[in-house]
């Protein structure tokens, strides 16, 4: 017999929700849905409205930058246990890059407008969300700076033209 697991348990199992208070978890679950993307499918595209953010349950997600006259360049991949999409937190709420499924990807999608509304109404929830996002954003920024050093020390050859 198939056992149905609710979204609350699925969300609680993700590292982003580690140690999250049950009441807060319940508030966030109200804005969540499951999603599956096939390999190559776009999850979002640059300049579109950032209406969600994402927790990766399974699979590899490519963050890509469109470069005119050539194929998009993958600048980072993220995988199980990580989150992506912070443009929903920062006006004007537009994506700054593309996100694409590099393989079959299972995500928890969180509706940004729904969560922003709850955060406005409940500042404790807002603080809890920021406490979880800001360290990740800080770490990603530090990692990006280190990659700048890596690339300065070991410059990448230009990627191949259109394939």
């Amino acid at each position: 017999m198939v056992q149905v697991v609710g979204l609350e348990a699925t969300l609680a199992a993700h590292p982003f929700a580690h140690d999250l208070d049950a009441g807060v978890l319940e508030l966030i679950v109200g804005c969540c849905s499951n999603a599956v993307y096939k390999p190559g499918a776009y999850i979002f595209r640059e300049a579109e409205a950032a209406q969600k953010f994402y927790l990766i349950r399974h699979g590899l997600v490519s963050l890509e930058i469109h470069v005119p006259q050539t194929a998009p360049i993958v600048v980072e991949t993220l995988e199980e246990g990580e989150i992506f999409g912070w443009s929903w937190l920062v006006p004007p709420y537009r994506w700054s890059n593309d996100a694409r499924a590099a393989e079959q990807v299972r995500l928890i999608e969180i509706d940004a407008a729904c969560l922003r509304g709850k955060m406005e109404a409940d500042r404790a929830l807002g603080y809890e969300i920021y406490k979880r996002f800001v360290p990740i954003m800080g770490k990603r920024l530090a990692t990006t700076r280190l990659r700048l050093v890596e690339l300065a020390m070991e410059p990448a050859p230009p990627p191949p033209k259109h394939r």
């Binding site: 998009p72 993958v74 694409r100 890596e150």
Partner: protein
């Protein structure tokens, strides 16, 4: 080591300042700007070395430079050097053809401390041409596979087109007892592998941090980053071994060109335990 025992005492260094003559038997173009020399000695004697050691290699009429050995230490009659063309000597070396005779002094330096890792999980962290000095150690660990726990190789490349020793990486990844994680800095859309820094590869490695010995070969600016990421995984500095580079000339600790704090890198290094040199890392004059 059995392979070393196969080499007689006469094969080892008689006069460390006197080069032995080797003929380039084969030149392999690895990736753009990186090539491998397979050398055979003219005197047909073996050349014993341990993983992590280096030679001073002399291209007559051009110059002599330190080069780490990238071959299998169990094959003492084949000396292998993998070289990136970055300066006047290495650019001329890139033009040398099979048959050219070169001078070799060595082996010099402390090797990777393989015995320290017996019974432990082992993680190798490297990128681009840094895989060359680690290759003899990886090969030796795989020769002695039963002596170690998990074996994880984390390799970062600049792009998808310049992955050094790609055939080796495929072979190692195909083994059931070795995990290989490759990251690249950038890739074309549709690439199915990981894109990011080497730290991303360390983060996904399945290791028991408290029982892991790490061997790191990256440029110095990036070594500390790798050590910090290993620290987050529970691998402390007393179990991290790094290799450094300086301008080595004599190879035997006489000339002082490679002085690094209280040590001479050519004889006290180039392999160091990280916690023993950590303080020197922040000394900018070094």
């Amino acid at each position: 080591m059995d392979a070393l025992n196969a080499v007689t005492a006469a094969d080892l260094i008689a006069d460390p300042m006197l080069p032995r003559q080797f003929r380039i038997a084969q030149v392999t173009r690895e990736v753009p700007g990186v090539f491998t020399w397979t050398l055979k000695s003219l005197d047909r004697r073996g050349f014993g070395f341990q993983p992590g050691q280096f030679n001073m290699v002399w291209l007559p009429g051009v110059g002599e430079i330190p080069l780490s050995i990238s071959g299998d230490c169990r094959e003492p009659y084949t000396l292998v050097h993998t070289i990136r063309a970055v300066g006047p000597v290495t650019n001329m070396m890139q033009q040398a053809r099979p048959g050219t005779v070169v001078g070799v002094r060595g082996p010099f330096g402390r090797p990777w401390p393989i015995e320290a890792a017996v019974g432990c999980d082992v993680i190798f962290v490297t990128s681009t041409v840094g895989l060359a000095p680690l290759r003899p150690l990886i090969v030796e660990v795989l020769h002695r596979r039963d002596d170690f726990g998990k074996v994880v190789i984390c390799y970062g490349s600049r792009g998808t087109e310049d992955i050094l020793f790609e055939a080796d990486l495929h072979e190692w990844r195909a083994r059931f007892d070795t995990n290989v994680h490759v990251t690249v800095h950038a890739a074309h859309s549709g690439y199915r592998g990981r894109v990011g820094g080497v730290a991303a590869a360390i983060n996904i490695a399945r290791i028991d941090g408290a029982a892991t010995q790490a061997f790191v070969c990256r440029s110095e600016a990036l070594t500390r980053q790798a050590v910090a990421t290993l620290g987050e995984r529970g691998v402390t500095g007393d179990r991290v071994w790094v290799t450094l580079e300086r301008s080595m000339k004599c190879g035997i600790g006489l000339c002082g060109h490679c002085q690094f704090g209280p040590s001479f890198m050519c004889k006290d290094g180039p392999i160091y335990r990280f916690d023993q040199i950590e303080a020197l890392y922040s000394v900018r004059e070094l």
